[in-house]
Structures are given as structure tokens and as C-alpha cells.
């Protein structure tokens, strides 16, 4: 059975480094981050975490969604607003932008269009719901408390808001979630089961969603915004968590051609694997991730020496970055020629939406003619010797790229794409 070709026709991003293509490209080109000291982190007892990031122009601090603001006109009904949480609010805007770029209209978001999502639910809303339960009792909690908090909230909110009637499913594999969503969406379209799938990853990224990683020593303890997120750098102490959302419209090449819509990227295949080692830590040798990369190479048909860029998962944790360095060397040898970078040096770590955010950033940057470097990479980890880890952006015209993601439990994904 021949597989249908899969392409990207729309992208929408709401991230710490911007929510328009222009602002994102400007910030990527200037290597400008949005990390800052946040009192929300330091207010907690025994907190060594002070640096976080927020979405510019979006304000979702209030516990009541009717107070939230963003730079786009919104027309939510009160019922719709009641079931939203911050990440669904971001995802709504990202999806609107992606649909607009893909030149879709509401009539086309019917049975032919599916929706795959990735989010951990809204941890702060779960917390508030439990607080109400304890303080006021069962019949005094928010009637929308479950709808706006538990895993799945992104799926049912977006499908109702955009009247999507095709397959609708959520993916949870921690920081590989949105990459899994993209991979399985690719499969559905390639197998001819769905013409088009809107894939969305999103995270609240607020204090309650990020700070619990502190006890694991996974968060950056730097108090300097300029050196808080340091993937691949010897000085790294952990990641900076971030919220936001990214939506990518995937469709079969024939459906896109029929509509005469511009193809932003070709999705050639993907690989996945599990470490089978530890519930949180990656297997130190990176064997699991290397199998995912090998799977992506096999599935895409990319020759290893034809790869022009690898967007790393590298979050800035000691063990995670090392495992990825070893995984890359395991597949490509000690000194592959292509550049490798982590855009988390600018965005921070988007957790379950990290993978799809990075696919969006890769497509935007490469389409604009440059390959992103790893911002602030001054002292590369000695173990990375031999790898091409540029600090600065490269004007090298790369088109064929891989993007890695790894989640808790060693859930690994590698996606293979090419610009048209």
C-alpha cells in the first residue's frame, strides 16, 4: 500500500518570543529571549528558582477567564469562556492563525479534519478546583471545574470552538507529547484515514505548572535571565519552563494541491522509542533516543549525510543533554557535519508543547534562510566535542532537518521534515 504524502500548510504560535511570524523571526534572528525574574517563583518557601518567562501581550493571571486579555479580537460566549484555561486560550489563538495561513474556512473543518492535541491539562485549575472542594464542599465547586482542568480539556474545547468533526484524540508522553501527536497525525494522513489533522500542543506554563519540577533539580537555578537557559553548555543547571501554544495544520499533499494552498514543509516520516529504563531519568547512553532517530531516518528515507540540521530536544539539564549528545553520536558518529542547536536557549522549555513549537520555529527560520544557533552557548559540554554546535545563527540555506523530543520515562520521538 502506498502512503500519501503529508505536508504542513499552516502554523500558529503563541510563545514567549512572540505570537506573530514577524516578531518570532525578529527574536530568533536577534537571539532575543524573554526570560525575566518572576516574583511568582521566589514567593514560595525554599525556592531557588527565580527566572521564568511569560507570553508577551497575553494576560491570563486572573482566576476568572472573563478577565483575560490578548491582542486579538475575541468573541467567546460566557459558556465558552467558562471552560477555558490559559493554555486553551493560547491554543485558540494559535489555531486561528494556523487555519488562516492554511486558507481554510469553517466549512472545511468538518468530518475531513481531525484534531490531535497535546497538553497535561491545567494544573493550576485542578489545584483551584481541589481548593474549592475542601473549602466549600462538593456542590460549591465550579461546575466547569473538570471541563477546564483535566487532561483532554484542550481537545474538547478546540473541537467545539472550531466545529471539528473528524478524529479527535489527545497525546500524553510528557515532553514528547506534541511530537507524538504530530507523528501519529502523519500516520493517519499517510494511511489515508484523514485528509487533514490540526495538531496543537499547549501548556499553561504558570508557576504551579512549572515550579514542582524544582524538587527534581530539573529547573535552572540561575538568577541571571541572560544565562538561565543554557542547553549543551557546561554551566547549565536545568531548564526554564514556558507556557504557550503551537498549532500546525497537516494535510495530504493531494488535499493541499486541490485547494491550491502553499506548502510550508513536507513531513517525510518519524521514529519513536522508549528507554524502558526509569520513570523520569533518560538512559544515560541515549540508546532509546538513538533508536527514535534511526526510525525517523528509515521512515523518511533521508540519507544520514543529506541531513542539513538537527533541532535538539536539549533542555539544559545535565543528564538530558548528555544523553542526547550520546544518542546523536551513536547514529551519526563522533563528528557529523550538520549543525545541531536547541532553540530552548531562547524560548525555554515548553514541556508537552516543546516539540511542535520547535517544528514551527524550524520551518519559520529555515524558510527565512537561516538555521538557528543555540543562544548563549559559550562553554560547550566537553562531551559534545566533535559536534557542530553553532552559537550564532547560520545563513546556510538548510532545508532537510530532524527534530528530537524526549519525555519522562524515556519516551523519544524524532520527526523528519524538508522545506519544499
Amino acid at each position: 500500500m502506498s502512503l500519501a504524502k503529508v505536508v504542513v500548510t499552516g502554523i500558529g504560535v503563541v510563545s514567549p518570543i512572540g505570537h506573530t511570524t514577524k516578531s518570532i523571526l525578529n527574536n530568533l534572528r536577534a537571539q532575543r529571549h524573554n526570560f525575566k525574574r518572576l516574583s511568582g517563583y521566589t514567593d514560595f518557601k525554599r525556592s531557588k528558582i527565580s527566572i521564568g518567562t511569560e507570553i508577551p501581550d497575553f494576560d491570563t493571571h486572573s482566576s476568572l477567564s472573563e478577565d483575560w486579555t490578548c491582542p486579538y479580537p475575541t468573541s467567546f460566549s460566557k459558556d465558552e469562556l467558562r471552560s477555558l484555561n490559559p493554555h486553551t486560550y493560547y491554543a485558540y489563538q494559535a489555531t486561528r492563525e494556523a487555519i488562516k495561513e492554511a486558507r481554510l474556512n469553517t466549512n472545511e473543518l468538518g468530518e475531513e479534519t481531525g484534531l490531535f492535541t497535546a497538553s497535561p491539562g491545567s494544573i493550576s485549575n485542578i489545584y483551584h478546583c481541589m481548593e474549592e472542594l475542601h473549602e466549600y464542599g462538593v456542590n460549591r465547586t465550579d461546575p466547569y471545574g473538570i471541563v477546564k482542568s483535566v487532561v483532554g480539556t484542550l481537545s474538547w474545547n478546540l473541537s467545539a470552538l472550531f466545529k471539528i468533526k473528524g478524529s479527535n484524540c489527545g497525546f500524553t508522553s510528557a515532553c514528547a507529547s506534541s511530537s507524538h501527536a504530530l507523528g501519529f497525525a502523519y500516520d493517519q494522513i499517510a494511511l489515508g484515514r484523514q485528509d487533514r489533522i490540526i495538531v496543537t500542543g499547549a501548556e499553561d506554563g504558570d508557576v504551579l505548572g512549572v515550579l514542582p519540577f524544582g524538587i527534581m533539580r530539573a529547573l535552572s537555578t540561575s538568577d541571571d535571565p541572560d544565562s538561565a537557559s543554557l542547553p549543551f553548555d557546561s554551566r547549565r543547571s536545568g531548564f526554564v519552563g514556558c507556557g504557550g501554544a503551537t498549532t500546525v495544520v497537516l494535510e495530504s499533499a493531494s488535499a493541499a494541491a486541490q485547494r491550491g494552498v502553499q506548502v510550508l514543509a513536507e513531513f517525510h516520516g518519524w521514529g519513536q522509542s522508549s528507554d524502558g529504563y526509569h520513570p523520569a531519568a533518560p538512559i544515560p547512553e541515549g540508546i532509546g533516543l538513538s533508536r527514535a532517530i534511526a526510525g525517523a531516518i528509515k521512515s523518511s528515507g533521508f540519507k544520514p549525510d543529506s541531513i542539513e540540521y538537527l533541532n535538539a530536544h536539549a533542555t539544559g539539564t545535565q543528564i538530558g543533554d548528555l544523553a542526547e549528545i550520546r544518542a546523536i553520536k551513536c547514529i551519526f558518529g563522533e563528528s557529523p557535519k550538520f549543525p545541531i542547536s536547541s532553540t530552548k536557549g531562547l524560548t525555554g522549555h515548553g514541556l508537552s508543547y516543546a516539540g511542535i513549537l520547535e517544528i514551527a520555529l524550524c520551518i519559520r527560520a529555515l524558510s527565512d534562510g537561516f538555521t538557528p544557533g543555540t543562544a548563549n552557548l559559550l562553554e560547550p559540554d566537553p562531551q559534545s566535542q566533535g559536534l557542530h554546535l553553532p552559537k550564532d545563527n547560520l545563513e546556510n540555506g538548510a532545508r532537510r532537518f530532524l527534530s528530537n523530543s524526549s519525555g519522562f520515562g524515556g519516551a523519544n520521538v524524532c520527526l523528519a521534515m524538508k522545506l519544499p
Partner: protein, 114 residues
């Protein structure tokens, strides 16, 4: 008065809180209706505001005012906390019109005070 009820009264149209106080003092059913309308207005879309202003006994809760079952629970919680009454789920779900709801509220207040 708990924080949730305070928030609801703060965000309800002007005069809602005052009408609640006036009803509690005098038992004036007209004030009860002003309060009830204020709480409903707080919970429905502005698009239905005009219909609510002109609501009569036959105005339908779902079709005319856009109140779904979860929104009805939100409204009922506020009625219960503000008026010190208990609304029964089965009876609440049987209320189809604005007039039916008003009658039911008055009935429950009578039961509570007897």
C-alpha cells in the same frame, strides 16, 4: 458571605447586591426579582440581555436565555448561598421557564422560613 458569592455579586449588574439586601430586610418580592435577574444577567451572554429585561413568565430558560445545565448550576449555587435556601436537583432540572424559576424560588424561600 464567602468569596465566591462576593465575587458573583461584585460582577453582577449594578443594583443586584442592593436588591438582595432590600429583599432580606423587607421580604419584597419585587426586590427578589431584581436580584434574581441580576444574577442571571451575570451568567448569560450580553446577546440575551434584552430578552432577559423583557422576560415574562413564558420566557424559556434554554431557548430564549441560552442557559445550559451547567450555567443553571452556577446560578443555583448563587441563589442558594445568597438566600440561604436549598434547591433540589430534580426540581431544578424541571424548570423550563423564567416564570417557573421565580415561582420555585419563592416556594423554597417560604419552606426555608417556615
Amino acid at each position: 458571605m464567602d468569596k465566591r458569592l462576593e465575587d458573583e455579586l461584585d460582577r453582577a449588574p449594578k443594583g443586584t447586591r442592593e436588591a438582595l439586601s432590600a429583599f432580606k430586610e423587607s421580604g419584597d418580592l419585587d426586590q427578589l426579582e431584581v436580584f434574581a435577574k441580576g444574577i442571571i444577567a451575570r451568567n448569560i451572554d450580553d446577546a440575551y440581555a434584552e430578552v432577559l429585561n423583557k422576560a415574562d413568565d413564558s420566557t424559556r430558560m434554554v431557548d430564549d436565555l441560552g442557559i445550559d445545565s451547567l450555567t443553571m448550576l452556577e446560578i443555583a449555587m448563587t441563589f442558594e448561598d445568597a438566600l440561604g435556601i436549598e434547591l433540589i436537583d430534580d426540581e431544578l432540572s424541571g424548570i423550563k421557564t423564567y416564570g417557573g424559576m421565580r415561582e420555585y424560588l419563592v416556594e423554597q424561600i417560604k419552606i426555608e422560613s417556615s
